[in-house]
Amino acid sequence: MEKVAVELINVTKKFGEEPNQVIAVDHFTYKFEEGKLTTLLGPSGCGKTTTLRCIAGFTELDEGDVIIGSKTVKDLPPYLRPTGTVFQNYALFPHMTVYENIAYGLKIKKVPEDKIRKKIKDVLSMFQLEGMQDRNPSQLSGGQQQRVAIARVLVNEPQVLLFDEPLSNLDAKLRVYMREEIRSLQERLGITTIYVTHDQEEAMSISDKIVIMNAGKIEQIGEPVEIYKKPSTKFVAEFIGLTNFIKAKVKEIKENKIIVSVNSSLLTFHISEKFEKGENVFIVTRPEMIYFVPNKDLESFEGVIKNSFFMGPIARYEIALLNDEIITLDEANPKELKRKGEKVILKVDTSSAFIHKSI
């Protein structure tokens, strides 16, 4: 199958009339790479689903263009676009059997009956749905309904696969299983896929690329590791996982190195941006990038345990620094839980943490 890219140029969608107008998608420009799985990630109301619906054709654009492959689909109705959508609640036709649901698109294309039967047989075995074909959607489990929804779309061989929060109705375990299924299916078929979710863990685990959206705009685009390790905005840092922002002051700048002070401690970081001496900055670190040390030295700083939570593989601590800032620390494989009020000495992994300008 031909792999196609999906390009959005200045896509804008507004809802409502002025003055209560909401700009759901605001000049969204991005080229979704062919054959890759790209996730649109963001909090609810950030415009990710609207963006997806603009690609599928359910929502008309106010401005901009959507190009699939080499041709614009902006003015095409959904039934003429080469996209296939898996809906949040699956949208299986309740009055049709599994077989009829999957055959729906093929019948519209007037595919001969025997060919339809063959295709559906293949797709049913591919999705481990053998023997389910005469059931009604209501007689299936959530995971099975999900697979029927995907099968119903794939059987039409769309060029672009669209997922609108497909796993949000499943329980936690099934969610993990299904996202692995979706990922391996996508890799096997190499079909361009755009996947909408608000679950950052889900996005991290299945995506080639993540597009983080906020208030209708793109905040950051990158591979999962990149997004996690180097969030480019405070919004991204806070949205993806837990992040500490430790207040610090620039002491010295040497070539591509910077020394900042936290209380009386001095920490050295690599930098690519320009900073000025005396400037207020943040040390941006994940909880697992801070660790306990037995002895105080120049690079470490002191704190007092405020709260401790045992969470199985890790222990999570809320620690008050000398200036009363509260930070979160995750200790992997904890031997014993430190108590409230205990004094501790901490160090930041300066190779993973980075310096961000004060906001």
Binding site: E17, E18, A56, G57, F58, P77, P78, Y79, R81, T83, G84, T85, F87, Q88, N89, A91, L92, F93, P94, H95, Y104, G105, I108, K109, R152, V153, N156
Partner: protein, 561 residues
């Protein structure tokens, strides 16, 4: 801003023009609503400001109405009867609802039936049954006189009120019982847990939470009572009410100016009640219907309360069932209350003299119901799923006939269509059109609520899989709307075949119908024939309902609107 507004409208029109089927449906619906809903109401308004040979007389008829003691009295009677009957219906309905949802009284299944049955009993049949029981030759009165030396004559305000309570309490029952059963009893448990006693729980938690439902029901019931015609006409004795007076003034005295004036005076409060009801319902409903049924735990009711409720329900149920029994036997008694020997004479008479009415009723109600169902569904689809200019207008006028008293529809059709451009009076068509447009709101509203439950994603999925509008409509929407359509048509049929208030204006010797015949039989004292025909009418209705329930697995919840 303005250009933007027009830009949007222009886009809507452009989009609509791309779908000629939808576009023509919109146009057709507008024409039908204007012609058969707006134009008749407008004609009645116009007529009330006119006098023959004089022309425009302004509000003269209205001044006459309110300065004349007789008419003022009619007005007061209407308000008095409606108010008391509404309060009575709410009390009876709420006790039924409480008893059936919250207690473990025996015979619940029977009470369930008797709480619904009056909904399909035409009010005039109900009133007629009361005549057979408590009229001057009523069976109960004969025994009362024999043993106690007095009679309880049903004619008068009290009779109308009793009859109206029986007719309207099921609506209160349906609304409050659904409020009771969608009520999360853990709220009451929480109150008990916080130290509230049983009575306090009822007063501070249960009652406030179901009050909005009760008030919404009260407004609708008040509306029904205001426009009631059958019961006051048959049981009023010397007392008249607005709906009866409107018929008297037009068909009796031939004073169309006053008749239409009274109809308008009746329309305004009905309309306001309906308006408040819809506003109130949308604003104040605490009872939200979600997919999962709320936690309901049956608590043991104190046995004194339980048996008091049981006795009360039994009493009301006895009345409801007696209506059917007495009508059934009435058809076979030689002379009711005088000679109770068995005879088939009434049935022979009914089949020979009024056979045409039975046939007319059947086919005209069928046509009317199918028409109402189709137009209702199309309106529902357009309003729930499409955007076009004038959608709110369509929504409003599609629902309006529900709030319009039958008198207004009947009189409106006569006044509007007895002169060019469209002359329809004296035809079967006008009766069928009356059935269609009076009953269309039911199909419309059930259609809209069905569509609201059908996820838009289904249509999108269909389009996504390559289906055009027509395919989606045929393969997805129609099958999913079918149950609502069948129910809509069935109920439209039942309401049409038992319709008296508006058809009384439209029948002619050539086009008579069962309901009007029954009314005329009672008025002329032919109680036996009236009973025979009522029995036939009720048999048709009940058989049809049983078929519907069997075929679709539907339940009483269908009665809700």
């Amino acid at each position: 801003m303005i250009t933007k507004f027009y830009g949007k409208k222009v886009r809507e029109i452009k989009r609509l023009l791309k779908e000629p089927v939808v576009f023509s449906l919109v146009i057709i619906c507008f024409i039908l609503l204007i012609l058969f809903v707006i134009y008749p109401i407008f004609s009645v308004f116009k007529q009330s400001f006119l006098e023959e040979d004089v022309g425009f007389i302004g509000l003269k008829n209205y001044f006459t109405f309110f300065s004349n003691p007789y008419f003022r009295n009619v007005f007061y009677n209407t308000l008095l009867i409606s108010t008391i009957a509404t309060i009575g219906a709410i009390i009876v309905g709420t006790i039924f609802a409480y008893g059936l949802t919250r207690t473990d009284i025996p015979l619940k299944k029977i009470f369930m039936v008797t709480a619904i049955l009056p909904m399909i009993t035409p009010p005039f049949v109900n009133a007629f049954a009361f005549i057979l029981l408590l009229g001057r030759v009523g069976v109960i009165n004969i025994y009362l006189e024999k043993f106690f030396g007095f009679k309880f004559i049903i004619y008068g305000i009290h009779g109308v009120i009793i009859s109206q309570i029986i007719t309207t309490f099921p609506l209160a029952f349906l609304v409050t019982s659904s409020a009771f059963s969608s009520f999360n009893t853990s709220l009451e448990d929480a109150a008990r847990d916080l130290g509230a006693g049983e009575f306090r729980v009822f007063r501070t938690i249960t009652l406030p939470l179901i009050t909005p439902a009760i008030l919404a029901a009260a407004l609708l019931i008040y509306m029904t009572n205001l426009s009631a015609f059958g019961a006051p006409a048959l049981l009023g004795g010397g007392i008249s009410v607005l709906a009866v007076e409107a018929v008297m003034q037009t068909l009796g005295v031939m004073d169309w100016g006053m008749g239409t004036t009274i109809t308008i005076i009746l329309l305004i409060p009905s309309f306001l009640l309906f308006y408040f009801q819809s506003v109130y319902k949308s604003k104040r409903s605490y009872v939200t219907v979600t997919g999962a049924p709320p936690q309901q735990e049956q608590r043991k009711t104190p046995s004194s309360i339980k048996w008091a409720i049981f006795i009360f329900l039994s009493f009301i149920s006895a009345i409801v069932l007696t209506v059917y029994i007495v009508i059934f036997f009435g058809g076979f008694a030689k002379v009711w209350g005088v000679d109770s020997s068995f005879t088939l004479a009434h049935y022979k008479l009914v089949f020979s003299n009024t056979w045409r009415s039975i046939v007319n009723s059947l086919w005209m109600a069928t046509m009317g119901a199918i028409g109402a169902g189709f137009i209702g569904m199309i309106l529902a689809y357009l309003v729930a799923r499409r955007s076009f200019i004038g959608k709110r207008f369509m929504d409003f006028f599609g629902t309006l006939p529900y709030a319009v008293p039958g008198t207004m529809m009947g009189l409106g059709f006569v006044v509007a269509f007895n002169k060019p451009p469209l002359v329809l009076t004296g035809t079967a068509t006008i009766i069928i059109l009356d059935y269609i447009f009076r009953r269309m709101p039911f199909g419309f509203r059930t259609g809209v609520s069905t569509l609201k439950q059908i996820d838009v994603a289904l249509e999108e999925a269909s389009a996504d899989l390559g289906a055009r509008w027509k395919t989606t409509f045929r393969r997805i929407m129609l099958p999913l709307m079918k149950p609502a359509f069948i129910a809509g048509v069935t109920f439209a049929f039942i309401r049409a075949i038992t319709e008296l208030t508006s058809t009384i204006f439209l029948v002619t010797p050539k086009w008579r119908v069962m309901a009007v015949d029954i009314y005329n039989f009672v008025e002329s004292g032919s109680l036996g024939s009236a009973a025979a025909m009522s029995t036939l009418l009720m048999a048709i209705v009940i058989i049809l309902l049983l078929i519907l329930f069997k075929a679709t697995g539907a339940t009483v919840s269908m009665f809700r609107m």
